[in-house]
């Protein structure tokens, strides 16, 4: 397991390779990368600042990964979340999940993203032509996390 909150960029290919290197029992690697878009809620986004609750973020991400491990067969997982100032097109978040089977890899990867979105203490502030604004939490994200309770 690898959890990192960092200002530096990450390398999807390198992180996936690190997870499967030397192993022959992994059949499926599902991954997700979230990026900064140049438009959100009808306004242009010139840049974004990601604030976080240092200490709690790492702990919270580790707990989410642990919960995924309890629900699905997860052989290894990596979660990296960037903080600080980001530009449109920049990477924000990476989740990689390795499993023997694809169903487990997909489910655990999406579960981690859905819970990260609603539980991990990160906040986005966007710079738009009308000035800075804190991004509002989305109901659709709450619903996405709710679906895993079924």
């Amino acid at each position: 397991m690898k959890i990192s909150v960092q200002s530096e960029d990450f390398d999807l290919g390198a992180e996936c390779a690190a997870i499967s290197r030397g192993r022959k029992d992994i059949g499926a690697v599902a991954s997700f990368v979230g990026l900064v878009r140049d438009a959100n809620d009808g306004a242009g986004v010139a840049r974004m600042t990601l604030e976080h609750y240092a200490g709690m973020t790492e702990k919270s991400l580790a707990e989410i990964v642990e919960e995924a491990r309890g629900r699905w067969e997860v052989m290894d997982a990596t979660v990296i979340h960037r903080v600080g100032e980001l530009q449109p097109g920049d990477n924000i978040v990476l989740v990689v999940v390795a499993s023997a089977h694809r169903g487990d890899a997909f489910a655990a990867c999406e579960f981690i993203m859905d819970f990260l979105k609603t539980r991990a203490p990160f906040w986005k502030k966007e710079e738009t032509p009308e000035g800075g604004r804190w991004v509002d939490a989305r109901e659709s994200d709450d619903r996405a996390a709710e679906k895993w309770k079924e």
């Binding site: 604030e51 919270s60 979105k117 991990a120 203490p121 804190w134 509002d136 939490a137």
Partner: protein
Amino acid sequence: MSVHILYFAGLREALGQTSERLALPGHVGSVGELHAHLVARGGAWQALLTTKNLRVAVNQQMAAMRTPVADGDEVAFFPPVTGG
């Protein structure tokens, strides 16, 4: 007893501070009582009432208004999270 209080994101900006150490009166024993104690300061502290879906964490675990607060605890107030 005293606690370490943290504020994040829009709430931090509204209050103009990131954290404070606060000695609490004896009647404050829960997050809800701490919240009321801070709101009672008036002025900018109304942001603790007006922040939609205000969240709180005690010792870096998500908590509720009824969660007990003890000496030395780290209590954080913040808006709903928007990472990812």
